[in-house]
């Protein structure tokens, strides 16, 4: 082997070109705009900022956005686990169709999802009419908002758990069985602890997506201030009323929330990789 054969990665060309372009693009499209947001938010006086963020209408919107997202993410976590379990452990007729359907909320344009969900859950809609018969109204209520967010977050919950579940060595479960554990004991003591980080990660991803979701929710919510107004819509409304300060404050708060979630998710990813096999 000659010395030339020991090529270090640094000899790969194009570092400057690709790095330069990447940084430039990021700068223009991401960094500058986001800095403008924080700059503008900073320009607000502290009093203004607090007022913008704590008016009753804003607080109600936060309660709805965050509350509905938490509920939706929890529902998604359970449904996601069920769906992932069935997809990983069983084969059955129509499995491939189900696999494809899971990704619909990711692939479908949010506006289309929004009007379709509203129509489905409205009083004479395909789903809404059965619920109305039991006195449950969905469209234009917080429940409707929650159901739309369940739709939006489901793929995240499923896709986070699926690969981790598939990776659990079958021998671990066989070992538990050979030691006398029942199927439930095996699930509770062996399988579940191993997939728990993935379930939490999926729920967190669903939550992150849900809290900022606009198109899928804005139609079904009805947007009644103090009742069914979500934060993203409130931002748009304030913009239309030229309340730039208010909109900026809200947007900055949302952005901080996003950043916090991003960090949390990265940590969770680490935990998933560490809790591996023997």
């Amino acid at each position: 082997m000659t010395a030339a054969a020991h090529v270090e990665r640094k000899m790969l060309p194009g570092f400057r070109v690709t790095m330069g372009f990447t940084l430039l693009y990021l700068l223009l499209i991401v960094i500058v705009p986001l800095s403008a947001l924080f700059g503008k938010a900073q320009a607000l006086k502290f009093g203004e900022l607090v007022q913008a963020l704590t008016s009753p209408r804003v607080l109600a919107a936060f309660r709805l956005s965050v509350g509905a997202s938490i509920v939706a993410a929890s529902i998604d976590a359970v449904a996601g686990l069920l769906i992932a379990w069935v997809l990983v452990r069983y084969t059955f007729f129509g499995k491939r169709i189900i696999e494809a359907l899971i990704d619909i909320p990711l692939a479908l344009p949010t506006a289309v999802a929004g009007i379709a969900l509203t129509t489905a859950y409205s009083e004479n809609g395909v789903l809404g009419r059965h619920l109305a018969a039991h006195g449950i109204a969905v469209a234009f209520t917080p429940l409707g908002v929650t159901m739309a967010l369940v739709f939006v977050g489901l793929p995240f919950a499923v896709r986070a758990v699926q690969p981790v579940l598939a990776d659990v060595e079958i021998e671990l479960e066989e070992a538990a069985t050979s030691l006398g554990a029942t199927r439930w004991q095996t699930f509770r003591r062996v399988t579940f602890p191993l997939i728990l980080p993935a379930i939490v990660s999926g729920a967190a991803q669903a939550f992150a997506r849900a809290v900022g979701e606009y198109g899928s929710v804005v139609f079904i919510s009805g947007n009644m201030p103090m009742k069914t107004e979500i934060v993203p819509l409130l931002i748009v409304t304030k913009l239309e009323q030229y309340d730039y300060a208010g909109a900026t404050a809200l947007a900055a708060a949302m952005l901080l929330l996003s950043l916090g979630l991003l960090i949390l998710l990265h940590r969770l990813q680490g935990a998933i990789q560490v809790g591996g096999r023997t």
Binding site: A175, L179, A181, P193, G275
Partner: protein
């Protein structure tokens, strides 16, 4: 408790893995299921464990069929330790999942686990996670975990397959000692005949799903029931010959029938197996005494290999047979030298 297998058949799809296995494992003995990869030995072990069900035939552990309930302890090749539990909890697992009425009170449970930890000499690692242990340590924990539930039968699936050679040897010895202490009926699956011979009381050699021979290591080695077994256990020279006029002929080699055929064997094909250490290299003086008999052959030395205490010599007889001899020591041999060789013992398998 003893294990009784009768006429066990198993296929996976179109592939028949086990054909009519009959085997009896006595109380307190270790039997090694020995055979090449894919011969069905692991499947058979899993059937005894209750992890697979046979297509036909009977499997009895004690006098109950196995259903995966804690009659058996199973040790996996890749340990299958629970990564999210400590060593202590791994060993305690079988005790914790017992039905309420069978469960030990916590202090007794802890004591039992501590006893086992002492037995495998890993008391100091009780709160460690499996990922922090070496391969050999993990396998010991896996064994302790299986023993914790007082199994009637202990099943080990290539337990040392994933370990380094030196660790393997050490654990082999340790397992043998442990078995002598505990005397649990055990079945060990391995493709390593040295390991099987060292640990097991009896060997069950399986080839392509068929149980070809069961016996002590010595029996199986010195009186193999088929050419396959003779080559699988230890080195062997395998020759194809024909029976003619009361002896078996292969090229320029003529050997006695060893009483293994009656008079009407003429013309039958036969497989001759000669162990390398049963080939004698004669000195010139000794050859003189044998000249004229077909027992001594002339051969040229093709290669000499000094591997530690043994000398392996590749020979080519005048008649074109390639043979390997194994000697403890010899006068220096040169390639292309001519020697006389004599077959001290051989085994014969008729068609």
């Amino acid at each position: 408790m003893e294990v009784n297998l009768s006429s066990v058949h198993k296929s996976f799809g179109a592939h028949t893995v086990l054909r009519g296995i009959d085997l009896k494992v006595h109380e307190g003995e270790i039997v090694a299921l020995l055979g090449p990869s894919g011969c069905g030995k692991t499947t058979l072990l899993r059937i005894v464990a209750g992890l697979e069900t046979p297509d036909s035939g009977q499997v009895l552990v004690g006098n109950r069929s196995p259903t995966g309930k804690p009659v058996v302890g199973f040790v996996f090749q890749h340990y299958a330790l629970f990564p999210h539990m400590t060593v202590f909890e791994n060993i305690a697992f079988g005790l914790r999942v017992k039905k309420r009425k069978d469960r030990l009170p916590e202090p007794k449970l802890r004591k039992r686990v501590e006893e086992l930890l002492a037995l495998i000499r890993l008391d100091h690692l009780a709160s460690s996670r499996p990922t922090q242990l070496s391969g050999g340590q993990r396998q010991r924990v896996a064994l302790a975990r299986a023993l914790a539930v007082d199994p009637a039968v202990l099943l080990l699936d290539e337990p040392f397959g994933a370990l380094d050679a030196s660790v393997r040897k050490e654990l082999r010895r340790w397992l043998k000692k442990l078995h002598e202490e505990l005397r649990v009926t055990s079945i060990l699956v391995t493709h390593d005949q040295e390991e099987a011979s060292e640990i097991a009381d009896r060997l069950a050699v399986i080839n392509h799903g068929v149980l070809e021979q069961v016996g002590t290591p010595h029996e199986v080695y010195s009186r193999p029931a088929s050419p396959f077994i003779s080559t699988f256990l230890g080195d062997a020279n395998v020759l194809q010959g024909v029976v003619r006029a009361g002896s078996v002929r292969a090229a320029d080699l003529s050997l006695s029938l060893n009483g293994s055929a009656n008079g009407n064997a003429d013309g039958k094909k036969a497989t001759v197996v000669i162990r390398p250490h049963d080939l004698e290299l004669l000195s010139t003086a000794e050859s003189a005494g044998y000249r004229g008999t077909a027992d001594a052959l002339l051969a040229t030395v093709r290669r000499v290999r000094n591997t530690g205490p043994l000398v392996r010599v590749d020979l080519l007889t005048k008649g074109g047979l390639s043979l390997e001899a194994q000697l403890l020591e010899t006068a220096p041999l040169e390639v292309d030298a001519e020697v006389s060789i004599r077959v001290r013992a051989h085994r014969l398998f008729l068609e």
